[in-house]
């Protein structure tokens, strides 16, 4: 069929372009030796000067992980070689503790250059966009801006390590309260060896005046990344949090197992947006990040709301299900997702919406784009518990296929234990048609740009959920992925 040869050729032509963000910053690393044992867990904890209770928690997680070492989740539609956990190093810091910079001026110019290459110069961001940046570079936060402005409102935005030192009561109360250390294999591993991440606390009635943003970078060779983020929105508060990532080119597979926990109290709202663009591996599936992420939010209060938006274009393996526990009456959860896979990339991603409280609502919009030999699965669970009267869910899963060798799968689980629930599920699978491409080309738009345009259109409902600052970047990213990986 003409359509097939046409699109196949497009994909082939476009796939030849390389990953644009493939560069490595040479920064003196202070790493732990490879391997994972109790000593390493103690080393990490000591390195960070942690209190006893946190070390104990880590050790409990470590022992649990050892006990369950054979229980790596196998239900996902993913195919990857066994991971040698003893080959990874579990700690790496860009600078020694005593040299940790106190302000942007002290930041290694190499790092600032790296950010510039990524188009996110910190200083400009500070001035132009009003975005406060807590930059996580090789596991340790090296820059935190706008802190004083936020402090006036009582907003705490810092690295998790800092929070452990300065707000131990908050961290102890909420760490692991949404994702317990024994939750799943990768969350357990994270609990044992997490290095750093962000901590956010929004006090009662405060509407955080700016988007809070963290840019993650994976930088040192053989270093797994184990970020841990905790966000608490107290009664009547609001916060929008942005997480964006990109990584230098690498041959080795890099393991990443992050955990994000969100807690929203009465009338509070958390909007969490992610753009993920880690190295996806080359055309033949060599290299690329293994991304096993546990993200969960608990809507504990009445009428609370948690909204996840994700744009997933990177990583060789994506295993990620940002979820909402709708505990409070009238609470609502949202999941907006764009996942783009190309070449040999694999993604098994979706969400869980657990309706516990009465009158709870959830909405799921998933847009999957698959090209090359990539395989992608939407896996979602909507569960309505017995007491969740009048629960409502609307799920929409759309898949767009480019070429002949890729796959898209939809695995929706729907469980209802309450007869008053109203659950809707819509799913479509389509292809970019030759008619659409020809129409664009007849208007002077090159094939590559036409594909980008059509895919951006396909993803529009999700893109428009992103905050302004991110939307432009995400659109560019879709285009870049299309040049380099989708076609």
């Amino acid at each position: 069929m003409a359509t097939n040869t046409e699109t196949a050729r497009t994909v082939e032509a476009l796939s030849e372009q390389r990953y644009k963000y493939g560069f490595v910053t040479d920064i003196e690393a202070d790493s732990a030796p490879p391997g994972l044992n109790e000593e390493i867990v103690r080393f990490i904890s000591a390195k960070k000067g942690e209190p006893e209770w946190l070390l104990d928690w880590r050790l409990r997680a470590y022992h649990r992980w050892m006990e369950t070492a054979e229980d790596t989740p196998s239900w996902a539609h993913l195919d990857y070689p066994e991971i040698d956990y003893q080959a990874s190093s579990y700690y790496s810091a860009p600078l020694r503790d005593e040299d940790r910079p106190k302000s942007l001026d002290e930041i290694d110019p190499e790092l600032l250059k790296t950010y510039e290459k990524l188009g996110i110069p910190l200083q400009e961001q500070e001035m132009l966009s009003g975005v406060a940046v807590d930059a996580v570079f090789d596991s340790v936060s090296v820059a935190t801006t706008f802190k004083s402005k936020l402090a006036e409102l009582g907003v705490i935005f810092c690295s998790l390590s800092e929070a452990v030192a300065e707000h131990p009561e908050l961290v102890q109360k909420y760490l692991g309260s949404v994702v317990p250390y024994a939750d799943n294999y990768f969350a357990t591993l994270n609990s044992a060896v997490f290095t750093d991440g962000s901590f956010v606390y929004i006090p009662k009635g405060v509407r955080c005046p700016m988007e809070l943003s963290t840019y993650f970078r994976i930088n040192a060779a053989n270093t797994g990344q184990f970020e841990r983020t905790l966000i608490i929105a107290d009664e009547g508060s609001y916060v929008s949090y942005l997480e964006g990532c990109t990584a230098p080119m690498r041959d080795e597979n890099q393991l990443h197992a992050a955990v994000v926990e969100l807690v929203a109290f009465d009338d509070a709202e958390i909007k969490y947006s992610t753009v993920q663009n880690w190295y996806p591996g080359d055309e033949n599936g060599k290299g690329g990040i293994f991304n096993f992420v546990t993200k969960r939010g608990a809507c504990r209060g009445r009428n609370s709301k948690i909204s996840w938006t994700q744009v997933e274009t990177g990583s060789a393996i994506t295993w990620k299900y940002p979820s909402c526990l709708l505990l409070g009456d009238g609470s609502s959860g949202e999941f907006y997702s764009i996942a783009i896979t190309n070449n040999c990339q694999q993604a098994d991603t979706g969400t869980k919406m657990i309706h516990v409280g009465k009158n709870t609502k959830s909405r799921i919009v998933s847009k999957g784009v698959s090209a090359g030999r990539a395989n992608q699965t939407y896996r979602g669970l909507v569960r309505v518990q017995g007491k969740a009267d009048n629960a409502r869910n609307h799920t929409q899963c759309d898949s767009l296929l480019i070429g002949e060798q890729c796959g898209a799968h939809t695995v929706p689980y729907i469980e209802s234990r309450n007869a008053s629930a109203q659950l809707e599920h819509e799913a479509t699978t389509s292809k970019i048609s030759e008619d659409q491409l020809f129409y664009c080309r007849q208007r002077g738009i090159a094939e590559e740009e036409a594909v980008a345009l059509i895919v951006n259109g396909f993803c529009r409902e999700v893109l428009q959920e992103l905050p302004m600052e991110f939307a432009v970047e995400a659109q560019k990213l879709v285009a870049i992925s299309l040049e380099g990986s989708v076609g």
């Binding site: 003409a2 129409y439 208007r443 002077g444 738009i445 259109g457």
Partner: protein, 252 residues
């Protein structure tokens, strides 16, 4: 402007155009009329470069270049425009966004400065007002949920913005009521100029009352069976296609 010589085209082994020749000079408007299946749409797609057509004989020279050596987007950038009989829907892509992307692709090719969003909106507003296209319509997703008339007006708006040298209008009148037809015809007439040539493909004589052609060609079974001036369209209206097709068979 355009020199088609002895063009034969088949689709899946079936010959659609047979030894077709046509010469179009700048400033001229040529009407190509013919019954269903005579090869009218094939001609427009072959000129625009759509895949799936086998060119078995002949050549096409467009502004001094071998047309078939150019990719579809290059033909467009070199000023060849096709107004589609069935404009394609692209869900999620805003009409204005699509138009801006197209206009800038062509401006870039011509070495002109690309429009930013504000400049483009200004240029677009002038052109769309003339065609009675609302701002609301431009905010909608491209061609999705457009009425037949809206789709065709949108094609003419694109033509106005892209300023082609050669415009091929494929049954722009189909599916239009008389009011919509007049608006479309006014839009087309406003774009007639000594530098621009048009090929108006139509089934009925109706459109040609408003867009008066310099030449009329009757296409039947893949060949031009009669060429003449605008009066030929009227003759065709009286006699119907059957007379002409009969002639073609008699000649063959």
């Amino acid at each position: 402007m355009l020199e088609i010589k002895g063009l034969s085209v088949s689709v899946a082994g079936k010959e659609i155009l047979k030894d077709f020749s046509l010469s179009v000079a700048a400033g001229e408007v040529h009407a190509i009329m013919g019954p269903n299946g005579s090869g009218k749409s094939t001609l427009s797609y072959v000129l625009a470069g759509r895949e799936g057509y086998d060119i078995t004989a002949g050549s096409v020279l467009y502004r001094g270049q071998d047309l078939f050596a150019l990719e579809p987007e290059m033909r467009a950038r070199e000023g060849l425009f096709l107004a589609f009989q069935y404009p394609v829907e692209i869900p999620g892509v805003g009409s204005a966004t699509f138009l801006k992307t197209a206009v800038n692709a062509i401006r870039k090719h011509r070495g002109e400065k690309e429009y930013d969003a504000m400049e483009f909106l200004k240029v677009m507003r002038e052109k769309r007002d003339a065609l009675g296209i609302s701002e609301e319509m431009m905010r909608r997703t491209l061609n999705v949920g457009f009425s037949g008339g809206e789709k065709k007006r949108n094609e003419i708006l694109q033509m106005a913005l892209l300023e082609p040298y050669l415009a091929v209008l494929d049954e722009t009148d189909s599916g239009l009521d008389i009011d919509a037809l007049k608006v479309a015809a006014d839009g087309i007439n406003a774009l007639r100029s000594p530098e621009r040539a048009m090929i108006v493909i139509t089934h009925y004589q109706r459109l040609l009352e408003y867009v008066v052609p310099d030449y009329v060609h009757v296409l039947a079974d893949g060949r031009v069976v009669r060429s003449g001036g605008k009066e030929l369209a009227l003759e065709l209206e009286e006699k119907g296609y059957s007379g002409f097709t009969g002639n073609a068979e008699a000649a063959a």
